[in-house]
Symmetry: C2
Subunit: 459 residues, 2 copies
């Protein structure tokens, strides 16, 4: 037996069912986690705790997690945070009408402060559902950064670059991206940058090449929407006589640091191109279904051993930011479409929502699983709830039965952001009130109320 | 102006967004509901309230529902309540293995008290998600009745009759059903009976005919699983050389009081048979996807104007009893499968989860919409939550963005069962503890632990 002096830690969580999501899928039916200075110092079974730490430690915060599951925080690998403001603004519409009549007119009036408030709303929603990191592709990213750093949420932020072939716009977008990288390098404690050209059919070859170059030079992850709709597929086919995926391959855009979002409309060879180049995918099932875009062919990805992560997309095509709902839907839909209940078992959808998200965003050294020396990003789920009881199987409880509200406590970078459903780093009611004011003004400015009586519900 | 004496009511709810789900789909952006003696006495806009009732009424309970949506309670038209005990017991398995190795061995040991406890757990879960009525098909229904009447939940209860061709079993099942009808008629304040033969491939022609006769004689609704799996389709085809639907039609089993559950494997003429005979459907998308049974062809039902309601099925093939998740999934999956975002808009999925459920179960005169003189069965949803804000469109908030936990208050038959998430008619923790004990004993009795290490998580 080894004797130690009293040790000083930040947080100790005891008596929890610990789902580590590490390579061995280690699970502790009664386990502990010790956190200090943003990191996991140690974890394991309560037997280990008693023999190694009992009466030898001091800590600022001790959490008794009896009847709780601890899981690595969910990682949302594709979204547009500030679009929370547009939740429900236009549903059940064809994509073109949705964009032309609602989203684009209102986005034309979007100011930095709107993105700041919309992002705070998004972060609150994600934290209450156990998400601890998320990737954003949008405008006014310095304001997004400000919002997330204030709250303590781990963002991977990219300025959405689209030039529609205009050279002036291209230079502007590249400059915005460079500016964002500088600001993040200078100011951010938690957030990191990603290079985010929008899509093959909204970007020129030149801006795609510039984006790839930035990614290589700065060793940064790269993200793009790919093959989301049949329309995009047909446009690229008509213009370049190749599939969107082959189009990117021809530009030597496909690479290990790339994560492609949606990625439904692929031909057989396209999967091989993604696999060969080590490309990762952000699967966005809710958005794909809701917009009628189609259904990703899970079996082709699986056969080609391509890493699939999960994303919610924006709240106006989902209409929430729940990773628990997203992983449940992924697991259900691919079983149904393939009439095979063995496809995408609970442990696999949990991988997609955690460690695979970390891999996709180039952060697997730091997050995505509960392991010694990784960042302490985690969610605590109370299973003594009528929808999660009796507790036969922790993996399937989360994958099939849970709701966001079963998450009681969320920790990012060793900081408790929500404890027993109470937010510690942001005034939720204030953000809700500001969000309502922001969207009322945006609708007025955009003269949107002419399009829909529904918008009167807001007032 | 009419002057009235002071009026005495039970509950007044004010300042709510009221979704009535009546034939006109009336909506009050600031509305009220008055409840007395289990019924809705009046409802409408706050203007009407001020002119008709201000200072003229007295009531036991007044609820200020600012920033709340009121909606008719959800109606779950197909389930097996006590299977909550088996939530997560066996997931990601082929149907046959799921049944043979887990569900049937354990059901063989199921006692009345297990069903009593499992049903209480189911009712608690449904109430916290805004469900106020549900249809059950299972064993030990008198104990199910006892559990629901104690809590104050509106059940439509049927003894699941299956004889696999045995005459002895047939008489037993018919006798159980008659006994249940008598007990309900004698004791029940809220619950009503339904005749529930199990499925075309588990029932003899004789028991099906006897069930139909009971339904006619007692003027009771009738429910059966129909065409849930390809396997069932193939079995009936091999045995009778017709589809399962045509098989029931040949028996003159199809009728207006019949609701068929699942109903995926139909041929074109089968839809016409259901339509011609006024049969209603309980659509169970989660269960169908999770078990890999297939995907119901929504367009064929729509084209044939067949009433579709929604059911969760049992908690061991879902794995929860959330009608909000069920209606969301229905709306999403049919858009996706048909690559058409306009299919099954929010208002339509809400109909499926409310008034269509009432119609399917023969209760539309009493429940399913908020109307004068209907029973006061309703859910109050708090929209000032990060996942439901800003409140652009109440229908789409519920259909696409909500979770069960956004339901704050649930009323059945004019009685508040849950108020601000607190249960008033049942001790939730006690039921959770009893459920855990019950399933531990059942697993021991069934010698199930040999099949799966997962079951050790429970202890």
């Amino acid at each position: 037996m080894v004797y130690m002096a009293t040790m000083d830690f930040d947080i100790i969580i005891k008596n929890a069912q610990v789902i580590t999501m590490n390579t061995n899928m280690d699970f502790y039916n009664k386990g502990f986690i010790i956190i200090k200075n943003s990191k996991i110092i140690d974890l394991g079974s309560m037997e280990k705790f008693h023999s190694a730490y009992d009466n030898k430690i001091d800590c600022k915060e001790e959490i008794d997690a009896q009847n709780n599951i601890i899981i690595p925080g969910f990682i949302n690998s594709h979204g547009h945070f500030a679009m929370t403001l547009f939740r429900g603004i236009a549903d059940d519409l064809p994509l073109k009408e949705w964009l032309n009549s609602y989203i684009w007119p209102i986005e034309a009036n979007l100011q930095g402060n709107d993105c700041y408030i919309g992002t705070k709303l998004a972060a609150i929603e994600m934290i209450q559902g156990g998400t601890t990191s998320a990737c954003d592709m949008y405008f006014n990213e310095p304001k997004t950064l400000e919002a997330l750093e204030e709250i303590g949420f781990r963002g991977v932020l990219g300025h959405g670059m689209l030039d529609f072939g205009s050279e002036e716009k291209r230079f502007q977008e590249i400059s915005e991206t460079k500016k964002l990288i500088d600001i993040i390098n200078e100011k951010a404690k938690l957030c990191t940058p990603i290079i985010s050209p929008h899509a093959p059919n909204t970007c020129s070859k030149e801006i795609l090449l510039a984006a790839k170059k930035l990614s290589d030079e700065h060793q940064l992850p790269l993200q793009i929407h790919l093959a989301e709709t049949k329309n995009e597929f047909d446009e690229i086919k008509a213009k370049y006589n190749v599939t969107p995926t082959k189009f990117l391959d021809d530009l030597e855009f496909l690479c290990e640091q790339l994560v492609v979002a949606h990625s439904i409309w692929l031909k057989k060879k396209d999967y091989q191109l993604l696999a060969k180049n080590g490309v990762k995918v952000s699967h966005n099932p809710t958005s794909n279904l809701k917009l009628g875009s189609g259904i990703l062919d899970y079996r082709s990805y699986k056969e080609n051993k391509i890493t699939l992560s999960l994303g919610t997309d924006g709240a106006s095509s989902n209409n929430n930011l729940s990773m628990i709902q997203e992983l449940r839907l992924a697991s259900l839909i691919h079983k149904g479409v393939n009439t095979n209940p063995e496809i995408l078992p609970a442990s696999e959808s949990l991988k997609m929502a955690t460690i695979n998200g970390a891999t996709a965003l180039g952060l697997a050294h730091d997050i995505g699983s509960l392991e010694k020396n990784k960042k302490a990003d985690l969610a605590i789920i109370d299973i003594k709830s009528s929808n999660l009881w009796p507790p036969h199987n922790p993996y399937s409880l989360i994958a099939y039965a849970a709701s966001d509200c079963n998450v009681v406590t969320t920790v990012v970078n060793g900081q408790i952001l929500m404890k027993n459903r109470q937010f510690l780093t942001v005034d939720v009611q204030e953000v809700l009130n500001e969000a309502r004011e922001a969207i009322i003004q945006l609708i007025d400015k955009s003269k949107l109320s002419q399009f829909s009586e529904k918008l009167t519900y807001l007032k």
